[in-house]
């Protein structure tokens, strides 16, 4: 919302000089509401003077030009040639003389125009950057006559601030210049001069009433209406135009501008109907819920289909406007309007919000109504509007003011609490006198008795409900920067360890040190991504209002996003590994979906010779070792997933529980993701892994006697796996078995593999003698030979 600081000055004194003003604005942003930007208005007008046209003659050589004599002071006039049509004798307008510089930087020179010397220029609005109008010379109006010769910057310069509406969404009173001005007065500690409304003229002579029927009393809690007759619709005076222009509003006509001015000044939306278009003085105004299939064309010329959540202002025939949101085109004020009905009402914020959301239409009015305007604003708004209309349009009040309060607004009258609570929350002692002064500046009356502070809440402060609301007011105006830093005294409480977090962290640590990169992808996927991965899954959880077609469902698998990420990086790297730890989401019987922490690791190599499968397997085994899981992972060959190559995949079990799979990705899927080369991906359930992590290390005694290391070489054929063979190696003294070499190729047969295994023997009682080891190895070999045919020892 845009706020004009010169408008604020009508209520309270704020610094004139730019440095002090900007300093105050900084405090304002800190203590009241953040400022999105600050903009200067009416700058570079020093050379533009107020002038009065005292003589106009025809140009001898050009039909379209006129020669004017313009008065710039008591005894100084200049001759200016102009092509404008709207000039008249006595017109007061902006003038720039020879040598002067326009706001856009152009220097004006005295030049002959078709043979007649022009010593300057009469200016249009747009030339001064004070508007868009270029249809004629800017008419300053009679009120400027007394300023002839003075520089224009004095009257037009302003500093406009745009404030962040979100922060004041609980403060409907601040959606107005008057409300903001009160804050300035509190922050600047300067006097606040409230808007002085003249009050009503004698109402007793007015007999005429208006039929107003509020059908939904929860929705419309107050409705004030009045009929004004014999108005003259015209242009607004310059001061209104300028005020509106500065805050980004276009001047329409005096009537519409007045309603906008009241809105900007005190925050009360008004609606003004052309009385003759809505049935004349005997019409009935209804405030009701919209009917089924009802439509209305709003002021913005759009036809709106109303919903069951809308409320309308109507006469007996039809809807005249969407209540609290936007009026109807049909009853709009136009140049011929003579008689009007002014509406100033209070509506329920929640219903306004629903109504506005249901047709996706927000307006300056609904913006304020949905914050919960106080009922007294409706009355003040009406008074102010009438005052302006009587002054500016020659209109006369025709009816009584009909004021219906259908439901009294709930509000807090007063609050009391222990004075010491202020210090308890803020952490600083503030003197009672200062507290009372701060509250006074914000329009709260307060007193302190027996250490209890009692505060009277003004009607417009509907946000104040309990002690902390008051303490916030005191704190921000006092200034949070005055609260000192100190070493906090905290109660002792032990840190509760979060095992899940720690494990996640450990897994990341090991993978990163193994040259894998952590990625984070979106939790949302779509069916197309699944299709590319050859997954068909109708059980995914759907998002009702997705961000885009690409992100329609919650994922229950990390692999597809992993493939996309591999695809993205393949242009830059030949070999890399990525991993992600994230939740997956599955439907469940409970209220909330089942969230499970999954780990997905990929290894890619452009070079097909690098067996990425075993890279991943090493990672998994390293994780297992690092996390201190006792049991080995069990790999069972095969996978039902279409994205996997069956013969190059395995299901992974831990303590007989399936924790995931390791898959070489199927060429079709690889092609779908434009991935050429080897790609292995594993996805495992961290929740299951977590169950088997040994939490403590129990010390095992170690042997004092030296270990003995013996390597044996086993050549076996394809019918067996290395794992089967190794698992069959058993001996009482055997402490550990390690694979140290696997070889395929010449001079072996094609289906043969040579495996070199290191056997480590340990004895707790004595040093081994050579014969014992020889015996053990023989025993091992004999066992293997009995179990596996055709294996050869070398």
């Amino acid at each position: 919302m845009k706020i004009s600081t010169s408008w604020i000055r009508e209520y309270t004194k704020i610094p004139e000089d730019s440095d002090s003003l900007y300093k105050l604005l900084e405090s304002f942003a800190e203590q009241c509401v953040d400022i999105d930007y600050i903009k200067e208005y009416g700058t570079n007008l020093k050379d533009i003077k107020v002038g009065e046209i005292i003589k106009i003659i025809k140009h001898p050589n050009a039909d379209k030009l006129k020669i004017t004599e313009v008065r710039l002071s008591k005894n100084k006039t200049v001759q200016i040639v102009t092509g404008a049509n709207n000039i008249y004798i006595g017109m007061v307008c902006p003038v720039i003389e020879h040598g002067g510089i326009l706001p856009n930087g152009t220097t004006i020179k005295s030049t002959p125009l078709r043979g007649v010397q022009s010593e300057g220029m009469l200016c249009a609005e747009d030339e001064l950057l004070l508007g868009e109008d270029h249809s004629g010379i800017m008419d300053l109006g009679n009120e400027y006559k007394k300023y002839v010769g003075e520089s224009l910057d004095k009257f037009f310069y302003d500093v406009i601030i745009d404030i962040d509406n979100k922060i004041i969404s609980n403060r409907p009173d601040l959606f107005s210049h008057r409300g903001i001005a009160r804050e300035f007065s509190a922050i600047n500690n300067s006097k606040f001069n409230n808007l002085k409304l003249k009050g009503l003229q004698d109402q007793s002579k007015l007999q005429k009433s208006i039929n107003i029927d509020i059908l939904d009393k929860d929705f419309c809690t107050r409705y004030i209406g009045v009929i004004v007759k014999d108005i003259i619709v015209d242009d607004s005076p310059l001061w209104i135009k300028q005020k509106l222009k500065k805050i980004g509003l276009k001047s329409i006509n005096n009537i519409v501008d007045i309603s906008n001015l009241v809105l900007a000044e005190i925050g009360q939306p008004l609606h003004i109907f052309d009385l003759d278009k809505i049935g004349g003085e005997n019409t009935t105004i209804l405030v009701r819920k919209s009917k089924e299939k009802e439509t209305i064309t709003t002021l913005d010329s759009k036809e709106r289909k109303l919903t069951k959540n809308n409320y309308v202002i109507a006469n007996k025939e039809k809807a005249l406007g969407i209540a609290g949101i936007m009026g109807g085109k049909y009853s709009e004020i136009d140049a011929n309007t003579k008689n009007i009905l002014i509406e100033s009402a209070t509506f329920d914020p929640v219903m306004i919000r629903k109504s506005s959301k249901s047709i996706n239409l927000r307006s300056e009015a609904s913006l304020r109504y949905e914050k919960g305007l106080p009922q007294n604003f409706a009355y003040e708004g009406m008074l102010y509007a009438l005052e302006l209309i009587f002054n500016l349009t020659k209109g006369k009040q025709y009816s009584k003011i009909v004021d219906i309060i259908s439901k009294n607004q709930e509000s807090t009258d007063n609050i009391n609490f222990e004075f010491s609570k202020i210090e308890k929350v803020l952490g600083i002692k503030i003197a009672p006198k200062e507290v009372i002064n701060i509250l006074h500046k914000l329009n709260f009356k307060s007193e302190i008795k027996n250490n209890i502070i009692t505060i009277l809440i003004p009607k417009e402060r509907r946000d104040i409900k309990e002690s902390v609301d008051i303490i916030e007011e005191i704190g921000r105006i006092y200034g949070y920067q005055k609260i000192p830093l100190k070493n906090p005294v905290l109660e002792t409480t032990p840190i509760i360890r979060n095992i899940s977090y720690e494990i996640e962290r450990e897994i990341k640590k090991i993978l990163v040190s193994e040259s894998s990169w952590e990625i984070k992808t979106y939790s949302f996927i779509n069916e197309n991504l699944l299709k590319r991965t050859l997954i068909h899954d109708s059980s995914l959880i759907k998002i009702i209002n997705p961000y885009s077609e690409e992100y329609t469902h919650l994922r229950n698998i990390l692999l597809p996003s992993m493939l996309s990420t591999v695809e993205k990086n393949i242009r830059n790297e030949d070999t890399f590994s990525l991993f992600e730890i994230a939740n997956t989401y599955n439907k469940s019987d409970t209220e909330l979906p089942l969230e499970e922490l999954k780990l997905c690791i990929s290894a890619y190599s452009k070079n097909k010779k690098i067996e990425t499968f075993f890279v991943i397997k090493k990672y998994l085994n390293d994780i297992k070792t690092y996390l201190n899981i006792d049991e080995e992972f069990e790999y069972i060959k095969g996978s039902e997933n279409k994205y996997a190559i069956y013969n190059q995949s395995a299901k992974i079990y831990l303590h007989k529980e399936l924790i995931g799979e390791i898959n070489n990705i199927h060429p079709t899927v690889r092609e779908n993701f434009n991935i050429a080369g080897n790609l292995t991906v594993t996805e495992i359930n961290v929740e299951i892994l977590k169950k088997y992590i040994k939490k403590s290390f129990l010390h095992k005694s170690i042997s004092k006697y030296p270990i003995v290391i013996e390597d044996i070489n086993i050549t076996y054929s394809e019918e067996y796996t290395a794992e089967e063979i190794i698992k069959s190696i058993k001996n009482n003294y055997l402490k550990e078995i390690r694979i140290i070499d696997i070889y395929k190729g010449k001079p072996l047969n094609e289906n043969q593999t040579s495996l070199t295994v290191r056997l480590i023997f340990e004895n707790f009682e004595k040093t081994f003698i050579t014969e014992e080891i020889k015996e053990s190895i023989n025993e091992i070999k004999t066992n293997l030979l009995n179990k596996f045919e055709n294996i050869i020892f070398r």
Partner: protein, 350 residues
């Protein structure tokens, strides 16, 4: 009968042969072989000496014994000397060899933690100094935990600040902030409570340099009998000084509005680039907005059955991405979720 002269002659021959061989030996392995050749179980000397037992004359026996010992110790010492020489040569050889220290023969073999993980690590470490525990909660929440319990009724205008994705209309949703973890913790634990809750959050807003529909938040909460705004300022100042490794950072509490805190603030820190003088990074403000905070609203405490007349405390929350962006001068949030290794590789860390 054994001829001691012949024995002596043989021994002398062996000695000569040995000394020759030792003399000409130029490597340590060969020397080792020589040692076992002359001193092993089946060495020639042993064989000869095994004949001594047939000598009857003790005088002769003694003479030949002494002679053989003399030869043995001579060979022994020759080997030892030679060994010392050869070892020396070997060391000389090794240490005189040059390597090209400018080469890298093995590539760096570490990946990197995602920047968000890196920042969360710093946050967790920092707040653990103050005794905060790390907690987590579900990402998919009910309306009550995400909104209603936090004073955000269904028609609260402040809901506009958080455009929500829905799984079930107005009921089940991906959380829009980590404040739901606050509520879950307060329902389950008794004060004093001190937690930090990092995690993913989701908002249905247009993606641009400053917005992504999924991002991270960290939520902090203290509830006890005394913690006040001065404590909030002190703890967050220390924390942010630690996070940015800069003790000149000051905080500014700017009045703000959140339905779940009262008073509420936006917290700005001195711009680390210009130290408050004003620069491009802080849009000439001298301050950088980092997080939101406030004293927990008494109604929120009532909602979780904590008596606001006895307990109070503060909550704060912000984005780890934001901290990381400020720290590393990154100007586009979307980079965090594009997962381009060219971006990720700039922040290598385990």
């Amino acid at each position: 009968m054994t001829d001691i002269k012949l024995l002596a002659k043989n021994l002398s021959n062996i000695e000569n042969e040995a000394l020759d061989k030792i003399q000409s030996c130029n490597n340590l392995d060969r020397l080792k072989q020589l040692r076992s050749k002359y001193f092993g179980k089946d060495s020639d000397i042993s064989k000869i000496l095994s004949n001594i037992k047939y000598i009857r004359n003790n005088e002769e026996k003694k003479t030949i014994g002494e002679y053989s010992n003399k030869i043995k110790s001579n060979i022994q010492s020759q080997i030892s000397d030679k060994e010392a020489i050869l070892k020396n040569i070997q060391i000389e050889e090794e240490i005189s060899r040059n390597i090209d220290i400018s080469l890298n023969k093995f590539e760096t073999n570490i990946g990197s933690l995602h920047p968000v993980t890196q920042m969360i690590d710093i946050l967790v470490e920092t707040f653990q100094y103050f005794g905060f525990s790390v907690v987590s909660g579900p990402e998919i929440e009910t309306d009550w935990f995400c909104f209603q319990s936090l004073n955000l009724d269904i028609n609260h205008p402040a809901r506009d600040m958080q455009d929500t994705f829905y799984i079930e209309e107005n009921h089940i949703l991906p959380r829009t902030h980590t404040s739901s973890v606050q509520i879950r913790t307060m329902l389950n634990e008794k004060p004093p409570i001190r937690i930090i809750a990092p995690g993913k959050v989701y908002r249905n807003e247009n993606q641009d340099q400053r917005h992504t529909f999924m991002f991270y938040q960290y939520e902090g909460l203290i509830i006890d009998k005394t913690t006040n705004i001065s404590d909030l300022k002190s703890i967050l100042t220390t924390a942010l000084r630690n996070i940015f490794d800069n003790s000149d950072i000051e905080l500014r509490l700017r009045h703000s509005f959140f339905p779940y805190t009262e008073p509420s603030f936006e917290i700005d820190a001195t711009c680390m680039v210009c130290l408050g003088k004003g620069c491009k990074v802080c849009s000439n403000k001298g301050w950088i907005e980092l997080l939101g905070a406030g004293m927990v609203h008494p109604q929120v405490l009532r909602n979780v059955n904590i008596d606001p007349n006895v307990y109070q405390g503060f909550a704060f929350g912000g984005g780890p991405e934001r901290l990381f962006m400020v720290k590393n001068m990154i100007d586009d949030l979307r980079l965090f979720y594009e997962n381009d290794l060219k971006f990720l590789s700039q922040f290598r860390k385990i």
